[in-house]
């Protein structure tokens, strides 16, 4: 293979270059140092769901501009063109090792994964769907927090999604929350931390307040590793930190432990 079909991609962690094909075979985990690259929602779905089983839902919902915020519509259009997505959240129904599930993925490339009214609506609908059809719910969070350009309409989504998760939970549904880099702000303070089981990817930044805001408040630098997945794991807020290539197998095992009939313990695509 040559450079054109298989270019080098640099790791932001160790600054070493590896071939695209090597990155891909490790699900975009650096072949040298193990640092994860952020991945798109469609790619995430492709490595979690059984091939050919995916149906993407709620694609008609896109952001409004409730505050008539200057420049916002233009930025939304840019984000749409850049990512091919209409919103931060992609909601899908598909099979994980044979188990029909509802999977929601937040794409950090779209407005830094921030929660808009449309994003909250998609998430809520997907949770409600999972509840109605008694399907397990898996949410991969990645978010900078609230969508500032939508003001209170964005903040409201925290209550709306938390309400939906609570109802889903009271109806006996299984919700596996997977926290990926970065999960902060209003997403951390709503559905993302309400899972029955909480997993995280290695090294993911997870917190409510952003590190910069904390540093400004306390007037000193934060220690290395603060608010990382490993830190939260130590403090008892995460059940397991799971490398990307073991995620599907781990989720499969959790589904199996909750009585779902899984097809083996496959961790393949």
């Amino acid at each position: 293979m040559d450079i054109e079909t298989d270019p080098f991609i640099m790791c932001k962690g160790c600054h070493r270059r590896s071939r695209k094909s090597q990155w891909e075979s490790h699900y975009y985990t650096c072949p040298v140092c193990g640092k994860l690259k952020n991945i798109s929602a469609p790619y995430r779905l492709s490595i979690i769901l059984d091939s050919g089983s995916m149906k993407v839902a709620n694609t008609g919902i896109s952001s409004d501009d409730p505050l008539d915020f200057p420049g916002y519509r233009g930025k939304l259009k840019e984000a749409e063109e850049k990512t091919g997505l209409k919103e931060t959240a992609v909601t899908a129904v598909g099979k994980i090792s044979g188990v029909k599930s509802v999977v929601i993925v937040l794409d950090s490339r779209f407005f830094m994964g921030s929660m808009s009214q449309a994003c909250g609506e998609k998430i809520t609908r997907a949770i409600e769907y999972a509840g109605r059809h008694k399907l397990p719910l898996i949410i991969f969070s990645a978010s900078g927090g609230a969508r500032m350009q939508e003001g209170m309409f964005s903040l409201w989504q925290m209550a709306k999604t938390a309400d939906a998760v609570e109802q889903f939970s009271r109806d006996g549904g299984l919700y596996i929350s997977v926290l990926t880099h970065p999960t902060t702000g209003g997403v951390t303070a709503s559905f993302a931390t309400l899972g029955d089981i909480t997993l995280a990817e290695p090294g993911a930044l997870i917190g409510f307040a952003g590190p910069r805001v904390i540093e400004q408040t306390i007037g000193k630098k934060l220690p290395k590793g603060f608010q990382r997945a490993e830190y939260l794991y130590e403090h008892g807020f995460i059940d397991a930190i799971v490398p990307r290539d073991e995620l599907k197998a781990t989720i499969t095992r959790i589904l199996m432990l909750h009585g779902f009939k899984t097809a083996g313990g496959s961790n393949g695509r």
Partner: protein, 317 residues
């Protein structure tokens, strides 16, 4: 603009108090010229005060933010004293700590036992420090949650008062699960089987405010504000320029009027010119009437209806 006026008002208030004091002292003597002069001075000062307050009409959203944060504004302890009787404080999360930024307990409201709680900023520097200026830690939200579940157990309506710059952004708060504590409070409030009324009395910022305001009825004082983030934080994130606060305040739809038009606030409680601090008693009266009326409607609902009513309020946005 309003900041300078309110400063002058409080200076005038002080002079009025002094003049009144002087009059009381003079009253003991035979009434003479000095007494009449003082009376004139008092009349003049009172005229000046109302002229000043008259200037506080047609305010900009930025002025609302100033009034909402004004230190002379009534705080949760004032509202509890004015509207409730037999208040019994509930302290601590019974897990780790007592967060002073959230204050509450059980009290009687028109003879009915209720749970009342909210953010507490403190009224002087010493209290401000203890209460972290009303910025709660996870322990505060967990204390609130234990009050919510007790309220549900004993079928007490819940009334919350919202006034916070946001949840505390500190290392310990993060290590103790600030995000999860807020999330759990949202989830729990959304399903409470008792009536919930929230009153935004000052500033309601971010998830730290929302965590106590998943209510059947959201009331806002006329100059209270509610926003996704403090206008200063909003500026630094979106504009990378904190000098554009005035513009941010106008864009954010944060006034009570905006919140009502955007169908998130259910009712606005009128305030006197210059805000609640210029005549707190009139605000207590108006608020009391509004809470009583809303509560009367809510206590007639079944637990199931209450949860459904709250769900609709948040689901529609």
């Amino acid at each position: 603009m309003v900041d300078k006026i309110l400063e002058l008002v409080s200076k005038t208030d002080q002079q009025i108090a002094e003049a009144k004091q002087a009059l009381t002292e003079l009253n003991g003597d035979a009434v003479g010229q000095e007494y009449y002069d003082k009376q004139d001075e008092l009349r003049h000062l009172e005229g000046l005060r109302s002229d000043l307050l008259e200037q506080c009409r047609d305010l900009e959203p930025e002025d609302h933010v100033y009034i909402a944060r004004f230190s002379g504004r009534p705080h949760i302890t004032d509202f509890i004293d004015a509207l409730f009787t037999d208040f019994f404080e509930i302290r601590g999360d019974h897990l780790y700590d007592n967060d002073e930024a959230i204050y509450g307990g059980i009290a009687l409201y028109h003879g009915m036992p209720v749970t009342v709680l909210g953010h507490r900023k403190g009224k002087n520097l010493e209290e401000n420090m203890r209460c972290r200026f009303g910025m709660p830690s996870p322990e505060g939200y967990r204390k609130a949650m234990s009050m919510f579940s007790e309220a549900e157990k004993f079928n007490r309506p819940v009334i919350t008062f919202i006034d916070t710059p946001g949840a505390y952004p500190g290392m310990e708060a993060e290590a103790h699960g600030q995000g999860e504590a807020i999330a759990r409070s949202l989830a729990m409030m959304s399903h409470l089987k008792v009536p919930v009324i929230s009153v935004v009395t000052g500033e309601g910022n971010s998830g730290g405010a929302l965590a106590l305001s998943v209510a059947n009825r959201l009331l806002m004082l006329e100059y209270a504000v509610y926003s996704v983030l403090s206008p200063e934080g909003f500026c630094s994130i979106l504009f990378k320029d904190t000098s554009r606060k005035k513009e941010a305040c106008s864009l954010m739809h944060l006034t009570a009027d905006d919140m009502y038009k955007d169908k998130m606030a259910d009712e606005i409680i009128a305030e006197p010119a210059g805000g609640a601090s210029s005549d707190p008693v009139s605000v207590y009266d108006a608020l009391d009437k509004a809470i009583e009326r809303n509560l009367k409607e809510l206590v007639r609902m079944s637990p199931r209806e209450l949860v459904a009513d709250r769900h609709r309020k948040f689901r529609k946005i």
